[in-house]
């Protein structure tokens, strides 16, 4: 056992002096977590489900010629603990939301069906058909909302397969071309044909590319412009898809909340596109980077890890 001559429990740290490499030293934190120090340079926090390794800092004391170790565990522990609890809560909230949204679709089916029956009972020229059509239209809108919420609350499990990001872009192209054309936006593709196939869920990545491209086109709706879609090797262990527009750019005040849900500047926007995209990228161990200049345009970079290359 290490000799605990100067063990001070503070809010976020514990100092252990004279840390000679000896068998495991352990103590209980004020939160009841058992901490096991396994070496001079690291400690292990043991919990029923997880093990965390936390860096320590060696210090020298004038009174104690030998080194002491400051173990900053509480903050890290608390952070990880709350992250885990937060993830569990989010996951539970997602399950509840998905279940609730699903249950709403049942009464919606009955409402839509009976409205259709009512409408059908009116003569062709009956003015009341106008009302039933409004109801039907609103039901369709509600259904679209629910479907978007469901994707956000509980994304479909990924079907990861070996895919080419260039084929992905080619597949997405027809889906964004008409919107681009309607907004006088020209799409410029620059695809690196030497890139390897990598593992990803094509449908989910399609959604990411469509979401970002649609935003880019929306940013140019008044002026028209160019949408550059480029694939390349990020040279950082990731393949990269650049989606760059020549639109109005994103106001700096909006950047911090860019990927947060229900955050939209569009008239009928739900504000879920980028948060869903971020979630999808995280589930692929990838990430999204944004550069923007107000008045000049925005570049989104989507990074997908290469490490699961299929040959």
């Amino acid at each position: 056992m290490w000799e605990e001559r100067e063990a001070v429990m503070r809010r976020s740290s514990k100092i252990v002096s004279n840390p000679k490499p000896q068998p495991d030293y352990s103590f209980i934190t004020d939160k009841g977590h058992k901490v096991i120090i396994t070496s001079q340079d690291s400690i292990t926090l043991n919990e029923t489900v997880s093990t965390y390794k936390v860096e320590t800092t060696r210090i020298k004391s004038s009174e104690e010629p030998q080194q002491a170790v400051v173990i900053n565990i509480e903050e890290d522990w608390c952070q990880k603990d709350s992250q885990r609890q937060c993830m569990e809560k989010l996951s539970l909230a997602g399950e509840i939301a998905a279940g609730t949204l699903h249950e709403i679709k049942n009464p919606l089916t009955s409402i839509q069906g009976f409205v259709q029956l009512i409408e059908n009972s009116f003569d062709e020229n009956d003015s009341r058909r106008h009302y039933t059509r409004i109801i039907t239209g609103e039901i369709e809108r509600l259904n679209r909302l629910l479907t978007s919420f469901m994707v956000f609350a509980k994304p479909h499990p990924a079907k990861v397969d070996s895919n080419s990001i260039n084929v992905l872009i080619e597949d997405v192209f027809p889906l964004i071309e008409s919107k681009a054309s309607m907004n006088s936006v020209a799409i410029v593709k620059e695809l690196d044909n030497t890139l390897p196939d990598i593992m990803f869920d094509k449908e989910q990545l399609k959604q990411v590319i469509i979401n970002i491209s649609n935003n880019a086109i929306d940013a140019m709706e008044d002026s028209g412009g160019k949408l550059y879609i480029k694939t390349s090797d990020g040279n950082n262990g990731y393949l990269k898809i650049d989606i760059q527009d020549t639109g109005k750019g994103i106001q700096p005040s909006l950047i911090p909340n860019l990927f947060k849900p229900f955050n939209s500047t569009k008239k009928d926007g739900l504000g879920l596109g980028l948060s869903i995209s971020k979630r999808i990228m995280e589930s692929h161990s990838g990430y999204i980077k944004v550069d923007t200049k107000p008045g000049e345009g925005t570049r989104f970079q989507v990074f997908l890890p290469k490490n699961k290359v299929v040959t």
Partner: protein, 132 residues
């Protein structure tokens, strides 16, 4: 009791509104409509009435739609089954198709399309009908 000449449809959904709706939809179609709110009722009616077609919700209390489908197909392999779901979960839909369901309708559906597809299936004109 069991008139072989009439076409019978069994609607299996725990939602009263959906059962009533589909009854109304097929009211004047000449089919005999039976409804069940759970798997137990569904299997009893399927056994006594021997319907030609079943419309089966995926999510039910007790037995799931998939479990009911398995039982229905076991006792009556010729039964045409249309699955109904509000989830749109591709894996479950594929499982149902693999177990012999003809197609899946995603809620909320257009009742006139439902009616027309059911007619087509009963006339064996069409076997793939995914409505969304």
């Amino acid at each position: 009791m069991n008139n072989d000449s009439e076409t019978k449809i069994l609607i299996i959904d725990d939602q009263e509104g959906i059962r009533q709706l589909l009854r109304e939809v097929f009211k004047d179609s000449g089919y005999s409509i039976f409804t069940a709110a759970n798997g137990k009722e569904a299997l009893e009616i399927a056994s006594s009435e021997k319907p030609q077609l079943a419309m089966l919700d995926m999510k039910l209390p007790g037995m799931t739609g998939i479990q009911i489908l398995e039982q229905l197909k076991k006792t009556n392999p010729d039964l045409k089954v249309i699955m109904m779901t509000a989830y749109g979960d591709a894996q479950t839909v594929n499982k149902a198709i693999g177990l012999g369901a003809i197609c899946c309708m995603f809620k909320p559906f257009d009742i006139f399309e439902v009616k027309s597809r059911v007619n087509e299936i009963l006339l064996e004109r069409q076997h793939d009908c995914c409505l969304s």
